[in-house]
Amino acid sequence: MTDLLAIGTRKGLWLARSEDDRRTWALDGPHLLAQEVAAVSIDLRRPAPRVLAGIQYGHWGPTVMWSDDLGDTWQETDHGAIRFPEDAGVALARVWQLRPDSADRPDVVWAGCEPHSLWRSTDGGLTFDLVRGLWDHPHRPTWEPGAGGGAVHTVLPDPSSNRVTVAMSTGGVYVSEDGGEKWEPRNRGISVVFGPDPLPEYGQCVHKVAVDASDPDRMYAQNHFGVFRTDDAGSSWSSIAEGLPADFGFPIVAAPRTPGTAWVVPLVADMQRVPPGGRFRVHRTRDAGATWTELGEGLPDAAWTAVMRDAFCADEGDPTGIYVGTRDGCVYASADEGDTFSLIAEHLPDVLTVRAAQLP
């Protein structure tokens, strides 16, 4: 079995492979050189694994490309996989998220994009349709862009129902229970620091949301200040930041097979996006956020870098492997749920996204 890690960066895509249960890795790349790869997914539901990449050609605009031979060749849809319909009056600015749906919906792939929009493909990612229910939501004109742009950056389809959860910066968490037709904000308890109302109905800058292994109603959110948990599918959120050295950060990752386990990478603050004291550390909870443990074996001190919201992921292995990429082009891998890390790539461009898969 091959473990594959896709590493999307500001200037291309790299693929790391391990043939020895994640002890050593061989790096292959660059693919898509000089193109920003802000979103990547590895879709294992097909006869051949499909790597989907949301790219930005720089001068030449954004699109989705795909490879069915693990990066040897890349293809794109002639007229663009994601195109706003004429009546929208806007153009695609960036693909932030590509998320294959469940095995029961084998050709469905979701995309979160800038400007704030959600897209659904029923042909494996070759073409996408705008999810009108969210696009036409009356709140949309008031979703403001954050510093990185206004986008749907997190898409979480529930494999056992028609629920779809999205997170936006800004906008917050919205949930549809009918596959995308109707949407409602679910941000109660998530705070904001950039507006007069600290607990608005919506408009939060939720940086990332992850679903717990045990229960689709239990989710974790790394907010623009604050780390939160919901046990009721977003209807209410409670702080789980106590015990962390800082409650600012971008990614949050939940273990796919271990209930209650999640990881964050604290940064000092929005105005100081570096690890506290320059000590680059991952923090793990084993009890759904009641307590946190600092993990640092194999991670550097004096590392004044940061981790983007999608540059942290978990694999499906046992024990769970986790992978964290940094803005200074390093990727650290752990095959033991974060107890120890090893450096598997360095001197890459800024790492924007990492995604892992175990190839059959």
Partner: protein, 93 residues
């Protein structure tokens, strides 16, 4: 009418390897020219303009040597026999 489109090398692969294309637009504006180009080379034309039809921010288009941003944009007149050059602007990092 016939118009010659001159492409930068990085876009030539999307036009069958050629940096010079003879295009026959149905009308006499830049928009008409890009429509004709899109019919033959959709992936190439997506690099030049977005789905609203707007020329991308960091792409420069010159009709007979004049930057269309300082003319009439997509409504810029493209005469029979014109040369339309596409270039990436000074940008990147």
């Amino acid at each position: 009418m016939s118009v010659q489109v001159v492409l930068p090398g990085v876009l030539a692969d999307l036009a069958g390897g050629s940096k010079h294309l003879d295009v026959q637009p149905e009308g006499g504006t830049l928009a008409d020219l890009l429509d004709a180009l899109a019919a033959e080379h959709p992936r190439l034309t997506r690099r030049i303009r977005d789905e609203t039809g707007t020329v991308r921010r960091f792409v420069n288009v010159y009709v007979d040597g004049e930057d269309v941003r300082y003319q009439d944009g997509l409504a810029t007149t493209v005469r029979d026999g014109a040369e339309v050059q596409v270039l990436p602007s000074v940008a990147g990092g």
